[in-house]
Symmetry: D2
C-alpha cells in the first residue's frame, strides 16, 4: 500500500501548497491513503470545519491534531461529528473526539490511524505508551488492519524515538509532528516499522516554526507578553513522508521523505 503523511499545516501558506501539490501527488504517486496533521491549519492555531472540509476535498483521508486541536472552539463540537478528524488518543476520558480510527481505502484495504501526544515538555496527558499498548491489542497488522499509521505529536526527540522503537514491528509508520522541522532520519526500524522523528510542517520556513519572526524573537529575548504571534505568509514548503508497505505484513518496505517548495532542499521518492 502507498501511504503519505503530511506534517503540520501552518496557516494559509501551508494550505496553499497542499492545495497546489497534493492532488497531483496523490495521482502521480498512486497513493492509497493520505493523512495530514492539521493542528495549525487555521491561521496557525487549530482547525475549522471549513478548512477540514477543504483538506478532505483535496485528498486527505484523515486529519490528525495535537496540542493545538482545541484552539478553535468550534472543533470541540465538530470533532464529535467527523470521524476522519482525530485528536491525540491520550487526552483524558471524556475529551471530545477520538484518537484512533480505522478507514477503508478505495481498494477496500483497512488503515488504522492513531494520534498520540508526548508528555516530555508538554501537558501531562495520559501515558502515551500505555494508550498505544491498549490500541495495539485491538488493532493488529494483518489481523484486522492492513496498515497502521501513528502520528506521535511530541516535543522531545528522545520520546519520539522511544515510541518508534516501542511500536516497532506493530505499526507501518510511526512519524513525529509538532516541532515543525522535518528530520533527516527516515529509516525502517529493525522490526519493520517506518520511522521519521518529525515530518516537518507544511508552511513558510522563512519564519520561526511558521510564525512571523519578530514576535518570537522578542519573546525569547524580552520576556514581555506584548508581542502577538502571527502566522507567516511567505511561500511554503510541503513536508511529508511517503511509505510503501508490504501487503503481506503491513510493515514498511520503503520510506522516503518528501520536501518541495520555496526554501528547503527538495526530496522526492
Amino acid at each position: 500500500m502507498k501511504l503519505l503523511f503530511c506534517g503540520d499545516i501552518v496557516g494559509r501558506s501551508g494550505r496553499e501548497i497542499v492545495h497546489a501539490e497534493l492532488p497531483r501527488l496523490r495521482r502521480d504517486m498512486n497513493l492509497d491513503f493520505v493523512v495530514i496533521n492539521a493542528e495549525n491549519a487555521a491561521g496557525g492555531f487549530g482547525m475549522t470545519e471549513k478548512i477540514c472540509a477543504e483538506l478532505f476535498e483535496l485528498g486527505a483521508d484523515v486529519l490528525t491534531g495535537g496540542n493545538h486541536s482545541w484552539d478553535k472552539s468550534e472543533c470541540l463540537e465538530y470533532i464529535n461529528r467527523e470521524p476522519r478528524l482525530l485528536r491525540p488518543a491520550n487526552y483524558p476520558s471524556g475529551t471530545p473526539g477520538r484518537g484512533i480510527g480505522v478507514y477503508s481505502t478505495l481498494k477496500g484495504q483497512k488503515v488504522a490511524v492513531m494520534n498520540v501526544m508526548g508528555r516530555l515538555f508538554m501537558d501531562p496527558l495520559d501515558d502515551p505508551f500505555a494508550t498505544v499498548t491498549r490500541e495495539l491489542e485491538r488493532y493488529r497488522l494483518k489481523g484486522n488492519v492492513d496498515a497502521f499509521i501513528l502520528d506521535v505529536h511530541a516535543e522531545a526527540s528522545s520520546e519520539k524515538m522511544a515510541m518508534g522503537h516501542f511500536v516497532d514491528g506493530r505499526v507501518s509508520l510511526a512519524v513525529g509532528t509538532h516541532t515543525h522541522v522535518p528530520t533527516a532520519d527516515a529509516q525502517i526500524l529493525p522490526g519493520g516499522t517506518a520511522y521519521q522523528t518529525d515530518a516537518g510542517m507544511c508552511g513558510d520556513y522563512n519564519s520561526v516554526i511558521g510564525m512571523n519572526k519578530d514576535a518570537p524573537i522578542a519573546r525569547f529575548s524580552r520576556k514581555l507578553p506584548t508581542e502577538r504571534l502571527s502566522v507567516a505568509h511567505g511561500p511554503a514548503d510541503l513536508c511529508a513522508v511517503f511509505v510503501e508497505t508490504d501487503d503481506a505484513t503491513g510493515l514498511a518496505k520503503r520510506i522516503e521523505p518528501i520536501r518541495m517548495g520555496a526554501r528547503l532542499k527538495p526530496a522526492a521518492p
Copy 2:
C-alpha cells in the same frame, strides 16, 4: 572558506565513524575548518582530555559542548587549559572555560566559534540572545573575523529558529545541536547566514538518541529510576553540515547536509 560542523558525537560508535571518515572528508572536501560538538563523546556523557586530544588529532579545530559538558569532572579543570574546547557562553560568570574563541586556519583566516545554550525546556542559564548580542559586537564578519560559527545547543525548534534569524547576516553558520536528530531544513537565511535546526548526532541511530533503547522506553512508560542509560554501540552515522562562505562577506554561499553511515539516507555535497 570551507567549513564543516559535526553534530554531537555520542560514545564509541560516534568516535569510530568520525575516526574513519573525518580525515578523508577534511582532505577530499578541502576543508579549512572543522568544529565538532563533543558533549557526549565519552560514553554518552561528557568528554575527557584523552578523547578531545584524539578528536583534535583527527582534524577537529574546535570542540563545542552543551548541558553534558560537565559530566566528566576532569573537564572542569581541563577546559581552562584547552582554548579549543568551548562550553556554552551563557553559563554564569565564574564558570570554568569559555564560550567563544577566535582561531586561525592554516591559510591564516580567522574563524570565531561560539557555543550558546537555549533555555526553553532546559536549565535557566543567562539569556542566550543577550550573550550573543554582546559577542557579536566584539566579533564582526569581515571586521575582525572571516567566518563565525554559532553552535546553538537547544531543545526547542522555536528557540533555535529564533536564534537563527536573530543572528542572520551576522554569522556564517548557525547550527543546532542537542536533539541528536539531523533536520532537513538546511537553508541560507535571507541575510546570508547558513542555518540548520540540528546537525544530528554522530552515533548509532538504532537507539534512543544514541542510548540503548530498553532503558529509555522503560523510563518513559514505567517512571521508576531503576533503568540505567547506556550508550548504544551499533554502527553509527556521521551527521554534519558543510558550509562554503563568501570570502568577501564571510556569509554563506552554500550549505549542504552530510550524512553517511549505517542507517540514514546518505547526503553529500
Copy 3:
C-alpha cells in the same frame, strides 16, 4: 476520631524529633491514627525497611511516600511486602506497592489512607484527579470507611488546592506534602474536608528544604553539577496536622497545625 498527619521526615534530625515527640503526642492527644510521610527519612532520600520499622514502632500506623519513594532500591521489593507503606497511587500500573489501603484502629474503626502525586512541575504520572475519583467510588466515608486521609504530594499550591476542593466532602483530610514548608492555611473546606496545603517537613529548618545550604545555593547560582546535596543535621522541628473527625459523618470537626522544635513558632491544639 483523632488523626495526626506528620509531613516529610527528612533524615536523621527529622527521625530524632519524631522519636522524641510522637509517642507522647500519641498518648497525650489520644490519637486514633497516625500517618507520616517518609519519602526523605533515609538520609534525605527515600526510606529503608529498618527506618520504616522504627517509625511503625514509634506509633505510625501508615507511611506515605512521593517522588523520592524509589531512592533506596530496597524499597522496590520491601513495599510489596509491607501494606502499611504507600506510594503515590497514580504511578503507572505495574509499579511495585500500592497507593491506597484501609486500616483498622485499635477501636476497630476503618481508616482509608491514600497517597497521590501532582503533575504540575513534576513527573507526568497518571492523572491524580482520575485516580482519586476511581478510589473515592470504592471507599466512601461512612459507607465502608470511617475516615479517609489523602496525602497530596505536589509542588504547586494551585494543584493542591484544586485537589482539596475536588475531594471536599468526600475525605476527612486532604493535606499536602513535598514542599517541606508548613503552610498556615489549615481550614475546613465548605464540604467538611480538613485541608492544609502543606504539612511541612519534620527536619532541620535552618537549611534548604532539609539539605545543607551551600550545595543548593551553589546549584542555583552556579549551574554546575559539582555540588552534592547532603541532609542537614541541625535540630529539627516536627510539623504535623491534627484533625478530629465527626464519627457520624467521617468529616472534619477541627483541624489544628502542630509545630514544635528548634526554630518555628510553636503551634499546638
Copy 4:
C-alpha cells in the same frame, strides 16, 4: 523600624480587606513602612494605575510585582512614571520599570525594597542570585540604607529558602510571594535576616489560589482550554509579615506572621 509586607492582593476581595484593615494596622502597629505585592490586584491579573493609587492612598509605601506585572498593558507605561511600583529586578535589561528603589520613611529612614523572581518552574529571567549580589553591593544595611526588604517572587520552596540564606545578614527581610499560600515558617535566620517562605495572598481562601474553583479543577482534570479563570469574590483573608528591625544593624529583631479575615487561623503580633 517597624515594617509590614502584605502578600499578593488578588482581586476585589483582596483589595477590600486591605482597605478595611491596613489603615488601622498602620496606625495601631506604629508601622514605619508598608510594602504590598500587587501583581494580582486587578481582577486577579496585573494592576492598574487607579488601583495602585488607591493602595498608596491606603498606606502602601511601595508595591511589588511578579510574573503578572504585565497582565494589564497600561503598566508597561505607568511603571516608568511611578517609582514606587516595582517589578522583578531580573527581567532583562530594557524592561520597563525598575526592580529596586530606596525610599524614605516619615522619620527620614531609608528603606531599600527589591523585587526579584525565581526561575525554577518559571520563566527563565536573568539569574536572581547574580542580580541580588549586584544590588547588595550597592545598598548596604547601615551603610546607605536602614532597612532592606526583598520580595522573592518564586514557585519553589527550595529556591526561596536558598535565596533567604544567600542574603542572610545582608537584608532585613526576605519574604516569598507567588504561591498565594502563607507559610508557617517565619524565623530569623542565623545571620539576622527575617524570613518567611511565602507571605500568602490577600484574597479569598475558599478558592484555588484566589480563583473560582471550577475552572482550575476542570483544567487539571480535563486538559481542555475551555475553562476561563475568574477571580473569587468571597470574603478574604489578609496575610502579611510584620518585622521589627534593630536600628543599630538594620537586621531583624522580630518577625510575626499576620493573618486576619474569613477563613484562616488568625495570627497577630
